[in-house]
C-alpha cells in the first residue's frame, strides 16, 4: 500500500514535471514566434520607410513631430510609439490595419493623404499585424502630437473625402498570375510598402496621383527635385539596366550606371539598404519589367540655336576646367563612385531640374552598409555664374551622344533658391 502510494505520488510528480516541461517548451516556442513576428515587423517597417516621416531630427524613434511642408500648409507627423496617451498604445491590430488599409483613424476620422495609405492599402493583413507587433515592442514616448498648420480650406478634413473619391482605391495587392513569384514580390514591395508612386508619379493640383499616371515621374512639390519616371527608359526606366546595377543602386546607393541623390538618397539610407538580397532582387526584376521602351526624345529646345551653341561651347570650357577631372573628358566617369555622365538618363531626361541642382548643390550619396564612405560632388553654386551653370548643364546634356536639350541661365537661376532640406 505504502509503496503503491509512493509510486502513485512519484507518477504524479513525474506527470507534473512533464507538464511543466511541456508548458515551458510551449512558452519558449510562443516567445520565439513573437520574436520572429517583431523582427519581421521591424524589417517591414524599414521597407515602408516609416521612420522618414515619423521620427523628427534629434527626436525619439517614431515619436513623430516632424514638420512636413506641403503645398497646403505644414503637417506634423504623429507619434506611433506604444504610449497609451499620446501614441498608439490603445490601438488594436484591427485599428492599425484599418489605418494602413483604409486611411482612417480608429474613431473613423480621415487621415491626410500625406500618409501613403493609397499605397499601404496593398499591404497584407499578416504584414500589417507584424508591423503593429513591432511598433508595440518599441520604447513608448510620451509626446503629444502637434496640430497641423494647414491653410483654409485644406484644414477641413471633409475635403479628404473628395480626394479619396478621386484618387484612393482600397484593396490589398493582387498578384498577377501571368508573372513570376519574384516579379509579384517586387510589385508588392514597390507598389505597397515602398510607396514609390508617392514621388515617381506626377502630382496634380489636388495633391493626388491618378492610376493611369502611376510611376510616370513628376516634380516633387516643395522639394523641387524631379522624381523621374520609372516606366520610361528616357528617364529612370530601368529597362536596359542589368539586374546587378539595379540592386547595387537600391542597396548601396551607387552603381555602374549612376548614383542616388536628393530625396532618393533618403530612401536608400533609411529603407532600401536594409532589405535582403531576395527582396531587392525582386524589386529590381519588377522595376526592369515595368519599363516601357520609349521613342527617341524630341530634340526640341526653347532656346534659339545661336544661343544654344554659344552656351554649349562655353559649357565645354567650364566642364574641362571643373568637371573632367572626376567625370572624364568623355563623360565616362569612374563608376560606381564618380558616375558617368555619358548615356546617363538622369542627365539627359526632359526635366533638367536634377542636373542643374546637382551642379549648384553638389551632394553625397547616402552612407550605406555596402558603401559606408561615399565620394561627394562639390557644390558649384558659389563658383559658377547662372550663365556658366546653364552652359555646363547644356553641354553635358548634349555631348557624347546624350540626347537632352540645352537649358537657360534663367532655369539655373530659379533653382538657386530651391529648398535644400
Amino acid at each position: 500500500m505504502g509503496s503503491k502510494l509512493s509510486i502513485a505520488l512519484l507518477s504524479i510528480k513525474l506527470l507534473a514535471l512533464a507538464a511543466l516541461a511541456t508548458a515551458a517548451q510551449a512558452q519558449d516556442k510562443a516567445q520565439g514566434k513573437t520574436g520572429d513576428i517583431i523582427a519581421r515587423g521591424e524589417y517591414l517597417a524599414r521597407a515602408g520607410d516609416c521612420t522618414a516621416c515619423h521620427t523628427a531630427a534629434e527626436g525619439r524613434l517614431f515619436a513623430g513631430g516632424r514638420p512636413m511642408p506641403t503645398p497646403f500648409g505644414t503637417i506634423y507627423t504623429s507619434n506611433i510609439t506604444p504610449d497609451p496617451e499620446t501614441g498608439i498604445g490603445k490601438w488594436s491590430a484591427d485599428d492599425f490595419y484599418r489605418t494602413m488599409h483604409n486611411g482612417r483613424f480608429p474613431d473613423g476620422g480621415l487621415i491626410y493623404p500625406a500618409m501613403p495609405f493609397a499605397s499601404y492599402t496593398k499591404v497584407t493583413r499578416a504584414d500589417s499585424d507584424a508591423i503593429f507587433a513591432y511598433l508595440r515592442s518599441i520604447q513608448p514616448v510620451n509626446q503629444k502630437n502637434k496640430p497641423h498648420e494647414l491653410r483654409f480650406p485644406y484644414d477641413n478634413r471633409q475635403l479628404i473625402l473628395g480626394w479619396r473619391t478621386l484618387f484612393f482605391r482600397e484593396g490589398e495587392f493582387k498578384p498577377d498570375p501571368t508573372k513570376s513569384a519574384e516579379w509579384n514580390r517586387g510589385a508588392y514591395l514597390v507598389e505597397g510598402l515602398g510607396h514609390c508612386g508617392m514621388c515617381h508619379s506626377p502630382i496634380n493640383a489636388l495633391g493626388g496621383t491618378s492610376q493611369s499616371d502611376a510611376f510616370k515621374g513628376g516634380l516633387i512639390p516643395m522639394q523641387n527635385w524631379y522624381a523621374p519616371s520609372l516606366t520610361s527608359n528616357r528617364e529612370a526606366g530601368l529597362g536596359d539596366w542589368s539586374i546587378k546595377d539595379i540592386t547595387d543602386l537600391l542597396q548601396t546607393g551607387v552603381s555602374m550606371r549612376g548614383v542616388v541623390y536628393g530625396p532618393m538618397a533618403e530612401v536608400v539610407h533609411n529603407s532600401l539598404q536594409y532589405l535582403n538580397d531576395e527582396d531587392t532582387r525582386a524589386m529590381a526584376v519588377y522595376l526592369k519589367g515595368i519599363a516601357e521602351p520609349s521613342p527617341p526624345p524630341p530634340a526640341s529646345s526653347t532656346l534659339p540655336t545661336t544661343e544654344s551653341s554659344l552656351l554649349i561651347s562655353l559649357g565645354k570650357t567650364v566642364y574641362d576646367k571643373n568637371c573632367a577631372s572626376c567625370h572624364g573628358t568623355q563623360g565616362e566617369g569612374k563608376p560606381p563612385h564618380w558616375p558617368p555622365l555619358a548615356n546617363n538618363q538622369s542627365i539627359e531626361m526632359q526635366s533638367a531640374v536634377n542636373p542643374i541642382r546637382m551642379v549648384l548643390n553638389g551632394g553625397y550619396p547616402p552612407g550605406t552598409k555596402g558603401n559606408p564612405m561615399p565620394y561627394g560632388m562639390p557644390p558649384f553654386a558659389g563658383l559658377l555664374s547662372d550663365n556658366e551653370v546653364a552652359a555646363v548643364v547644356s553641354y553635358i546634356r548634349t555631348a557624347w551622344g546624350n540626347r537632352g536639350t540645352p537649358v537657360s541661365a534663367r532655369d539655373a537661376n530659379e533653382l538657386r533658391s530651391a529648398p535644400l532640406n
Binding site: A57, E58, G362, G376, P378
Partner: protein
Amino acid sequence: MFARAAASAAVIVTLAAFDGAVAQTTSQPPDTMAARVEACTPCHGNKGEGTSDVYFPRLAGKPAGYLYNQLLAFRSGRRKYPPMNYLLEFLPDPYLEAMAEYFASEHPPLPQSAPSEVSKEVLAQGELLATSGDAGRNIPACVSCHGPGLTGMQPGIPGLLGLRAAYVSAQLGAWRYGTRTAKSPDCMQLVAGHLTEADVTAVAAWLATRPAPANPAPVPKGTYALPFGCGSQPN
C-alpha cells in the same frame, strides 16, 4: 590538334582583351580621404585652409572632437546652414568622424593676419575682453577656455586663430540669438548672451589681427581647468 591549339589561343586572346576591358572600366577614384572630401573644398579649401570667402571657416588643425561635434550638429539640423545640412544628411557617424580626423590632421600654414578696419579703441576693447573678460558683466576671457595661445584644447574646444572677423562675428551673433546651439550645458550660449553687439565687433576684430603662433596645435585635454561646465568638452 591544330584547331584545338588555335581555339586555346583565341580563348587566351579573348581573356587578355577582357582583362584589359575590366582594368579600364574599373579605374577607380583614389581610395583616400582627400578624394572623399572634395565636396568640402570649394568652400573650405583643398586642405581645409579656408577660401577667400570670409564667411567660410578654416577647418584645418581644429581639434577632431570639435569638428565632429559640428558635423553631427549640421547633420541633425541643430546647426543651421542648408548647404551643409543637405550635404551631410545621410552620412553615418564613423564617416563623419573620419572626416573630422582628416581635417584635424591637416596643417596648412595659417593665413597672414589682415589689417583691421576698426579703430584702436575698439581693438583695445576686444583685447581686454579676450584676455581678461569682464567679471562685472559675467563675461569670462576667451583665453580661459580657448587657451592662453587661443589655439584651443583637445578634444572639443576650437582654436580661434586664422578666422576672419566676419566669420567670428557671425558665429557670436548666432550664439547670442540662439540660432547656434550646442550640447547642454551650452557654455558658448551663456557667454555670448552677455555680449553686446559692440563687444562682438571688438572681439572678432581683435582675434582676426592675431599673428600665427609658433605652434598652432590645440593643447592636450586637461592642460588647464575650464571656468565652468561645457557640454562640448565633458570632463
